[in-house]
């Protein structure tokens, strides 16, 4: 019987399968379910060119289709193949904020997040997604190396 839900902050980057594999392994052991959350970074206050504005709706549709086909569908299939019940959410917005929002909404008890974040200067100065989740999460966070 499924007792708890774990959130997997899933970036879909090459290093991410480790976090997914680990989360699947843990969920299987405890007979729990997974909620895979994939966020497409987006700010409604960014600046776009006139052409980008006109094409935005079409692009968003394509981005969602692509994220679903390349990132979410294979990940869900992997969980299903392992016998772990899993659902997926793809959203646009600020990554940390939305992962925590989905965690609260699902009443999840744990967050799994990969360490493989950005090594950019901005990430070093302002903190990465991993650190952001670890600092602000209302539930225990497992950082998978």
């Amino acid at each position: 019987m499924t007792s708890e839900t774990y959130v997997v902050a899933f970036e879909g980057a090459p290093g991410d399968p480790r976090v997914l594999d680990f989360a699947i392994q843990q969920a299987k052991k405890d007979d729990d379910s997974l909620l895979l959350v994939h966020i497409l970074e987006w700010s409604p206050y960014s600046f776009l060119t006139q052409e980008e504005l006109a094409e935005r709706h079409g692009r968003r549709k394509k981005e969602l289709e692509r994220a679903n086909a390349i990132v979410m569908a294979p990940a869900l299939a992997k969980a299903e193949a392992a016998g772990v019940p899993a659902t997926g959410v793809i959203r646009y917005g600020q990554v940390v904020e939305l992962i925590l929002e989905e965690t609260r909404k699902a009443g999840a008890s744990k967050i799994y997040v990969g360490r493989s974040g950005s090594q950019s200067v901005a990430a070093r100065v302002f903190g990465s997604v991993t650190l952001g989740i670890a600092q602000l999460s209302p539930v225990p966070t497992v950082i998978v190396p």
């Binding site: 600046f47 006139q50 504005l53 006109a54 709706h57 079409g58 968003r60 646009y92």
Partner: protein, 516 residues
Amino acid sequence: MFHKTFLLAVAATLAASAARAQDAPQGIDAAINAAVGAATGPFVSFIFSPFPGTSFPWIVLWLVVAATVFTLYFGFVQFRSFPHSIALVSGKYSDPDDAGEVSHFQALATALSGTVGLGNIAGVAVAVSIGGPGATFWMILAGLMGMASKFTECTLGVKYRNEYPDGSVSGGPMYYLSKGMAERGFSGLGKGLAILFSIFCVLGALGGGNMFQANQAHAQISNIVGDYPGWITGVVFAAIVFAVIVGGLKSIARVTEKVVPFMGVLYVGTALVIILMNVDQIGWAFGQIFSGAFTGLGIAGGLVGALIQGFKRAAFSNEAGVGSAAIAHSAVRTKEPITEGYVSLLEPFIDTVVICTMTALVIVITGVLQIDPDTGMYIWDAEQGRVATVGDVSGVALTSAAFGSAVSFFPYVLALAVILFAFSTMISWSYYGLKAWTYMFGEGRAQELSFKIIFCIFVVIGAAMNLGPVIDFSDAAIFAMALVNIIGLYFLMPVVKAEMTSYQNRLKTGEIKRFA
């Protein structure tokens, strides 16, 4: 087939003219100036001909009356709904599930980057030097009234836009004139107005959206590095514009879109610092603006002169009633077209009431307009047809001198800002012009390419011409768009009223949800 042949022939003729001009380097600027000045003269004269029995250009009256009618018809919507507009822009009514779509803020910011620019820097200087400080008063008034015009046209822009299967959208007066007027039983008239608007929009894109920008960018560069032929700036600018709009170098456009808002903030911030440095003179400056609005303070045109300049430059700067903003705002994703109307009314406020007023205050406060110490009146330079200025400068150079008198290095920052503003406006207007062009000639690579080539050729022509003919043609082309657009707005304003009433009722009952 006819379209393609015609378009390519036009492009080839213009290219050949430019090539002939290049063959004879001596007096290229003068030759272009004479040829284009003569060709555009009758059009300019028609647009700015005075109202019978007065010296008031009928087209300015056309805009003022329209803004007044919309203000009254919508019950002073620009003042009553101002707080709601702010709430919409800040995303308080945006459904989080729609994240990733064009937000109200993005539509407003992009539309603003097309309007905030040289009109706020050079245009205000022209208005204040010809119409005196009093022109500022009329400019503010025109900005406030123009908010209602913008509200009307942008609501219609979203309501009647075309949405294509690939998710892209095309909107603007061409579409609401044809589709909206057909709905009201004026199909033939609507189609005619849509075509006429498209013709004027292409001219506006080539004039105010291109030649004026190239011209003032050249003036600014030569102000810094010394005088040199304008066609050189034109060719460089044309090459960059070509790389972006034809070559698809979107990275340049993206960088510009990100730098321009920063430059805008820097410009307003510096103006604010200069104004605050002279805080004791703010009262005096506003006194000059108010008394100049009604007495002229020595300006040759007096009250009427100040009023005409104020209204003209405000319309040229915020483009309310012109129809261009409706093209920009129509890309927003909203179930309620009226919401974009509310958002768009902030545009003339930011552009004219805030930024133009700041430029005018800096010009007045820094004393670059010469005052006769004995009479306290401005010294009128009859030969130049404007107030005598320190250093005998006008246009963007006057604003530069005003800012430079307070912050010595600022002319260099301003030069960069002008170049970036000019470039950003050109890119925006190349899009508006292209939309009008493809509305007339159909979508297709040949059609798009021919317009883009013509657009680039006009960059060279604009940079090479003197300020006078460029400003005249730019103004005339932009105002001609308003001529057609406003006819359509009168026919379609009941549609906007119905949208507004329905939205307001649903807002009151809570059917329209606030998300934050």
